[in-house]
Symmetry: C2
Subunit: 243 residues, 2 copies
């Protein structure tokens, strides 16, 4: 998973580390406990963390988080394209990486400031996003990818309205849309131009996957085909060399 690109790499790392440590020290616990411990780690380290990322990394599939409560939902898998710009290379030093992580905090702080200045606007946008989620779940249940695509596009606009769509991510979304993608949006993380525009987009490509993928790569993005609904945490035992 590309780092610091809004794709949940820190959640995946936290979940895997918590699970490995529990296993190593023989204090294995159930998945839900691993999830909440990993989420607690993220909260402590980052100050703020979405419970969605750790829930997905632990349980796989689809999850719905309402008021902090994690609910596992059964929905059909989807073929998506993830486009990612300017992710942090694995070779990056921790000082630089932690600097970028401060940028995420600045992004969140910017959204919070706008929300405090314009509470009525943000409440209306939040209501629109809630309605969108309800409709999107129904579209997924019905396998209606055309409807889902319209909802992805609309959600992208709402994210732009709260100020988390930088130029390069916007460009990826618009390229995909103009090439016939059913829908496209920035991921939850988003980004901002002042903070380097790092981040990812999600594309529901429909029949034009190859063309859209090529166009995203021409825009300088890492374009990855992804199938949703994958497995979550998997604990594998292996014989150590000195046993």
């Amino acid at each position: 998973i590309p780092l610091s690109a809004g794709l949940g790499s820190s959640a995946a790392t936290s979940v895997a580390t918590v699970a490995a440590l529990k296993e190593y020290f023989g204090v294995g616990s159930d998945l839900e406990r691993i999830r909440s411990d990993a989420h607690a780690v993220e909260l402590r380290v980052q100050g703020a963390a979405s419970p969605i990322d750790t829930a997905i990394a632990t349980h796989g599939g689809y999850v719905l988080v309402e008021q902090g409560t994690v609910q596992h939902v059964q929905l059909p898998a989807l073929q998506l394209l993830v486009g990612c710009v300017d992710s942090i290379p694995l070779s990056m030093g921790t000082a630089k990486a932690s600097d970028l992580s401060l940028k995420t905090k600045a992004l969140v702080a910017g959204v919070r400031a706008r929300k405090e200045h314009f509470p009525a606007i943000f409440e209306a946008i939040s209501n629109a996003a809630d309605e969108l989620t309800v409709e999107a779940i129904q579209a997924l249940e019905a396998g209606d990818t055309i409807k889902l695509g319209v909802l992805l596009n609309s959600n992208h606009g709402l994210l732009d309205a709260i100020g988390v769509v930088p130029r390069r991510l916007s460009s990826l979304v618009k390229v995909a849309q103009s090439l016939g993608a059913l829908g496209a949006k920035v991921t939850g993380a988003g980004g901002s131009d002042e903070l380097g525009g790092i981040g990812s987009v999600l594309v529901l490509p429909g029949r034009n996957e190859a063309k859209i993928r090529a166009a995203m790569e021409l825009e300088g993005a890492l374009a990855m085909p992804v199938r949703t609904g994958g497995a979550g945490l998997k604990i594998e035992q292996f014989a150590s060399a000195d046993r």
Copy 2:
């Protein structure tokens, strides 16, 4: 005014023609009557028309339209950049021009269809837009261009959420934003990729006007500095040659 680019060229033409005909036939009437007659012409020809465009073309300055009622408001002038892509050349034949005008109808029909499919989402977005307008008027009254810019950016996102932001206009807005514009948005008309992506954007450039203007021109747009609050209809008498 570039034609069919969402800049009110048809309203300006209607108002000027109605006023000239009234003057010629000696049935001169007050400005408000000219405005409503010109709006009626637009409605008959286009099927649908915003009362805003004819109101501005007649009265100049700023107008606020609520439930069809036109209200003249006094607000300070602003220095803006208007960026316009793919406007219709004056030399274009009427058949082609009328084809493009059908495209505007298709754009409006697309928004209406999405609104009918997702009434709750569109109502929430509409509430957000209403709140935004109230805040924007306050920002204009206070001369708070920083606040106004944030609101322009947010309004752009809402327009994207209802599906009227095509790739090239999006690109102009994002270029301006990333170069430090206080705010940027597509104009009311918007556009769509399937319909050629014709349209205009409005930029509140702040201190970076020259840089943003150059960047918009590099994107292939016609970039025009515009000062708001200009005069409306002006009837000038001139001596004809045979009198």
